[in-house]
C-alpha cells in the first residue's frame, strides 16, 4: 500500500545496466522507492497497472514501442500518475518528446544523480519541469507544422497535421478520437506516424524511431 511519505516509482528502461544503476540511485534515497521495473512497453503497461505508482520514469526508445505512447496512455487511463521522460537524446529531441507525450518533464541521461532525484521529488510534489515558455514555443512550432507552415514537416498528411495540432492542445488520444471522430486505436497509429516523421527531421531519432515504427506499427 502506498504511504504518503514514500514516492513510488516505476522504471521503464530497456538497457539493463542503466536500469540497475538508476534503481540503485533511487533506492538509496529515503523518500522514494522503485516498486517495479520494466524493459518493454508490454511489461510497462501491466506493471504500471498492477502497482499504480506516483511516478513513471520512461525511456523514449523501447524494443517494442515508444515511451511516448506509453506516457500518452498513462495520462489518459490514470491521469494522477506523473511521467518523466528519460532519454539519451539531446535537449531538443527530449523536449519535443516530453511535450508530445504530455509528460511532466524530461531528464537527459547525465550521471550527476542529484538532478534525477531532484526531478523526481519536484514532479511528485506536483510541479512541472517544463518551462512554460519553452513548452509554448514547442506547441507553437507544432502548430506551425500542423498548419503546413514548416516546410520541414511536409511529410505529414492532412490528417496527421490535424492530430498534431490537437496533441499540441494537450488532448489525450481518446479526446482526439472524439474530437475528429476516429477510433482511439487509429489515433494511436497517427501519433506513432507523427512521432516517426517528426523524428525524421531530427535525424538521430529517425534511425531509432524508424526502426521501431515498423515493429510497433
Amino acid at each position: 500500500m502506498k504511504t504518503e511519505s514514500l514516492i513510488r516509482v516505476v522504471l521503464v528502461e530497456d538497457h539493463e545496466l542503466v536500469r540497475r544503476g538508476i534503481a540503485e540511485l533511487i533506492s538509496a534515497e529515503s523518500d522514494m522507492d522503485v516498486v517495479a521495473e520494466a524493459g518493454t512497453v508490454a511489461q510497462a503497461r501491466s506493471r504500471i497497472a498492477a502497482t499504480n505508482p506516483d511516478i513513471v520514469l520512461l525511456d523514449v526508445r523501447l524494443p517494442d514501442g515508444s515511451g511516448i505512447d506509453v506516457c500518452r496512455s498513462i495520462r489518459q487511463e490514470a491521469p494522477q500518475i506523473r511521467c518523466l521522460i528519460l532519454t539519451a537524446y539531446d535537449d531538443e529531441d527530449a523536449l519535443y518528446a516530453a511535450v508530445l507525450a504530455g509528460a511532466a518533464g524530461y531528464i537527459l541521461k547525465d550521471i550527476r544523480g542529484n538532478r534525477l532525484i531532484e526531478a523526481i521529488r519536484r514532479v511528485a510534489a506536483g510541479h512541472s519541469l517544463l518551462d512554460p515558455t519553452l513548452k509554448k514555443m514547442v506547441t507553437h512550432r507544432m502548430r506551425e507544422a500542423s498548419s503546413g507552415e514548416d516546410p520541414r514537416l511536409d511529410a505529414l498528411t492532412g490528417r496527421e497535421r490535424q492530430v498534431l495540432n490537437l496533441i499540441a492542445e494537450g488532448l489525450t488520444n481518446r479526446e482526439i478520437g472524439q474530437r475528429i471522430n476516429l477510433a482511439e486505436k487509429t489515433v494511436k497509429n497517427y501519433v506513432s506516424n507523427i512521432l516517426s516523421k517528426l523524428g525524421l527531421q531530427r535525424r538521430t531519432q529517425a534511425a531509432v524511431l524508424g526502426d521501431r515504427a515498423h515493429r510497433s506499427g
Partner: protein, 580 residues
C-alpha cells in the same frame, strides 16, 4: 577541252546512251582506254572525265563548284552556274557560278533569286535550250552591269527524283548555240552530279554526326568528372562550337510562370545571360510548353522577343527542350543569322539527340550524387545510432555504477577521485551528443539549424589550434535561438573565433552554448596568451552592444593564460522578439 573540238556531231542519238556498255569497267580503265580520235568517243571521253572530276571530291561547296566548271568545259560555254533550290521556300538558296569575275558580280549586287528563265526551270524541271534567250517570253532581262548572254542551256539536277537545283549554261563559244547533243551531255553530267552532291551531303552529315557524338561524349565525361563548372555552360559552349550557330542560349523556367531566365548565353549577344524573357511571345516559352524540338524559320522574328542583338537578324532557330524525368527543365536555343545557311531537319535531330543524351547524363550524375549522399547518410545514421544506443548508454551505466560505489566510500580523497571520473564521463556524454547531432545533416533546401551553423562555423575555423575547438550544447538551443537572436549568437561565436585565431596563440578552445535557467549563455574559452588591449576593440564593442540591446551582458576575463568570454542574455526579454 579535247573532246569538244573534234566533236561537232549533230547526231540525235545520245552519246551517253551508247556509252552505257563501257560502264561495266572501272572508270579509270575506261577513261584511259578510250581512243580520242572518234568524235563520239571523244565526247564520251570528255563526259567520263567530267564525271570523274565531279565525283572525286567530298566537300559539298567544292563539289558544286566542280560541277559548274566541268559543265562549262564540257559544252564550251562562256558562263555557267548551279542554282540550288530552297526546298522549303522555293526560289534559289545558293547560286554557284563560273565565268563572271568577283568584281562584276559585286557590281551586279545580289545573286539571282530564281525569276524569269531561271524560275521557269524551277517551276517545270525540264531542259530548256535557246539560241537567243532574250527572244524567249519567260526572259525578264538582266540587271545593270550584267554581262550580255545569248545562247542558253538549262538542265535540272535531280537527287533520287527530287530536283536539287539547275545547271545553267550560256554563250556557247564555238558554235554560238547549244546542240541537242550538248543538252544530252549536260543531262548525263547532271545525273552524276546528283549522286556526287548526295554523297557529299551524306559525308557532311556523317561528319556532323561525328562532331555531335564527340561533343556528347565529351559533355558526358565532363558531367561525370568535373563538379566545379556549371555543366549547363559547357553544354552551351559545345553547341555553339559544333552547330555553327551565331548564338546559343539555355533558358530555364522561374518561379514566376510568366517569366523565363536566360541561364547561359554564348556567341554574339552573350550579354543577355542572366536576363529575363517573357514566357508568352518567346520561342522558349512555346517550346517549354510543347516539349517538342522545333526548327523555326518562317516566323517573323521581329515580332517576338529579340534573339540577337541589334544589327543582327535571325534566319533560323533550333529550339530543343531539356527534358528530365518527363519535365521540361529548360530550352536550348541555337540561332543562325539570316546570311548563314538554314538549319536542316537533320541538324535539328542531332541537336535534339545531343540535348537528350546530355540531360540523361545530367540525370545520371544527379542520381549518382544522390546515391552517394544516401550511402553517406546511412553510414552516419548507423554511427549515430551506435553512439546513442551503445556508447552513451554504457558510459551512463558505468557512471551510475561509480556513483553507487562512491556512496559506499568513506575516504574523502577517494570520493573526490571518483567524482572527477564521473565529471569526465558526463563531459564525454555531452561531447558525444554533439557528435551525434553533427553526424546528422540538414535536409536539402532547408535552412540549417543554429547548431548546424555553429558546428559548420567551428569546423571551417582554422586558427592554428592543435585541435578543432570543442562544441557543446545544453538545453533546447535550436528551439529558442532563432531569428535575430540566432544572428547575434553566430556573430558572437565568429568574432570570438577570429580573436582566438589572430591573437591568442592558443592550443585549444571550447565553445559552450546553453539555454538554461531562463537565459541564453555563450561561454568561449581558450588556453592562449590572453588579450592584448589594442587592435580589435571594434569587434568586442560590437559584441557588447549586441548583449546590451538584449538586456544581457558581455564579460571578457583575460588572465595571463587563457581567455574566457561570456555572453549571457535573459530569455524572457527576448522570447517575443524572435517570433517575427
Amino acid at each position: 577541252m579535247e573532246g569538244r573540238n573534234e566533236s561537232d556531231s549533230s547526231n540525235d542519238d545520245s552519246s551517253a546512251g551508247r556509252a552505257r556498255g563501257e560502264f561495266g569497267r572501272p572508270l579509270d580503265d575506261t577513261v584511259n582506254h578510250v581512243p580520242a580520235t572518234l568524235s563520239d568517243r571523244g565526247r564520251l571521253y570528255a563526259l567520263l572525265r567530267a564525271n570523274q572530276a565531279v565525283t572525286e571530291n567530298l566537300d559539298l561547296p567544292m563539289v558544286l563548284q566542280r560541277i559548274v566548271e566541268t559543265a562549262v568545259e564540257l559544252v564550251d560555254a562562256q558562263y555557267g552556274a548551279l542554282g540550288v533550290i530552297d526546298p522549303v521556300h522555293g526560289g534559289l538558296e545558293q547560286f554557284v557560278y563560273q565565268g563572271v569575275s568577283p568584281a562584276v558580280a559585286k557590281k551586279i549586287g545580289h545573286l539571282p533569286e530564281g525569276h524569269g528563265l531561271l524560275g521557269a526551270l524551277i517551276d517545270d524541271p525540264r531542259p530548256i535550250r535557246l539560241e537567243h534567250l532574250c527572244e524567249d517570253d519567260r526572259s525578264v532581262g538582266f540587271p545593270p552591269h550584267h554581262p550580255p548572254m545569248d545562247s542558253f542551256l538549262g538542265v535540272p539536277v535531280r537527287i533520287h527524283g527530287e530536283v536539287f537545283g539547275n545547271l545553267y549554261l550560256t554563250n556557247q563559244q564555238s558554235d554560238g548555240r547549244f546542240s541537242l547533243e550538248d543538252e544530252q551531255l549536260v543531262g548525263a553530267l547532271a545525273a552524276t552530279a546528283g549522286y556526287a552532291i548526295k554523297n557529299a551531303q551524306l559525308f557532311a552529315e556523317t561528319q556532323r554526326r561525328q562532331r555531335w557524338s564527340a561533343a556528347t561524349a565529351e559533355i558526358t565525361a565532363t558531367l561525370v568528372s568535373v563538379e566545379e563548372r556549371e555543366p549547363i555552360a559547357v553544354i552551351a559552349e559545345r553547341v555553339l562550337e559544333v552547330s555553327g550557330a551565331a548564338h546559343v542560349r539555355i533558358v530555364v523556367p522561374t518561379e514566376d510562370p510568366a517569366r523565363l531566365s536566360i541561364k547561359v548565353a554564348r556567341g554574339i549577344g552573350a550579354d543577355v545571360e542572366g536576363t529575363m524573357v517573357p514566357a508568352v511571345g518567346s520561342v522558349s516559352g512555346a517550346v517549354l510548353e510543347g516539349m517538342n524540338p522545333r526548327l523555326i524559320e518562317d516566323e517573323d522574328f521581329s515580332r517576338i522577343h529579340p534573339l540577337l542583338p541589334e544589327g543582327h537578324t535571325p534566319g533560323s532557330v533550333i529550339a530543343v527542350p531539356l527534358v528530365a524525368n518527363g519535365q521540361a527543365r529548360g530550352v536550348l536555343l541555337a540561332v543562325r543569322e539570316i546570311s548563314a545557311p538554314r538549319f536542316t531537319p537533320s541538324e535539328l535531330e542531332m541537336v535534339a539527340d545531343f540535348a537528350g543524351q546530355v540531360t540523361l547524363a545530367m540525370e545520371l550524375a544527379d542520381a549518382r550524387n544522390a546515391q552517394q549522399q544516401i550511402v553517406l547518410y546511412e553510414d552516419r545514421t548507423r554511427i549515430a545510432r551506435d553512439l546513442h544506443d551503445h556508447v552513451i548508454q554504457q558510459l551512463f551505466a558505468s557512471g551510475l555504477e561509480l556513483q553507487s560505489v562512491a556512496g559506499t566510500l568513506t575516504k574523502r580523497s577517494n570520493i573526490e577521485r571518483i567524482s572527477n571520473v564521473i565529471s569526465t564521463l558526463d563531459a564525454a556524454i555531452v561531447q558525444i551528443r554533439t557528435i551525434i547531432f553533427s553526424l546528422s545533416s540538414t535536409a536539402p533546401g532547408s535552412t540549417p539549424s543554429l547548431r548546424h551553423q555553429i558546428i559548420d562555423l567551428v569546423n571551417e575555423f582554422d586558427g592554428g589550434l592543435a585541435q578543432t575547438p570543442t562544441v557543446t550544447f545544453a538545453g533546447p538551443v535550436d528551439l529558442v535561438i532563432a531569428g535575430g537572436l540566432a544572428d547575434d549568437v553566430i556573430a558572437v561565436v565568429r568574432e570570438a573565433l577570429a580573436n582566438i585565431a589572430k591573437h591568442a596563440n592558443a592550443r585549444s578552445a571550447s565553445i559552450a552554448i546553453a539555454v538554461e535557467d531562463g537565459a541564453v549563455k555563450i561561454d568561449i574559452e581558450d588556453d592562449g596568451v590572453g588579450i592584448s588591449p589594442d587592435g580589435r576593440r571594434s569587434g568586442l564593442a560590437n559584441l557588447e552592444e549586441r548583449a546590451a540591446r538584449r538586456g544581457g551582458r558581455f564579460i571578457l576575463d583575460a588572465g595571463m593564460v587563457g581567455t574566457r568570454l561570456r555572453w549571457h542574455i535573459p530569455l524572457t526579454a527576448n522570447k517575443n522578439s524572435d517570433e517575427n
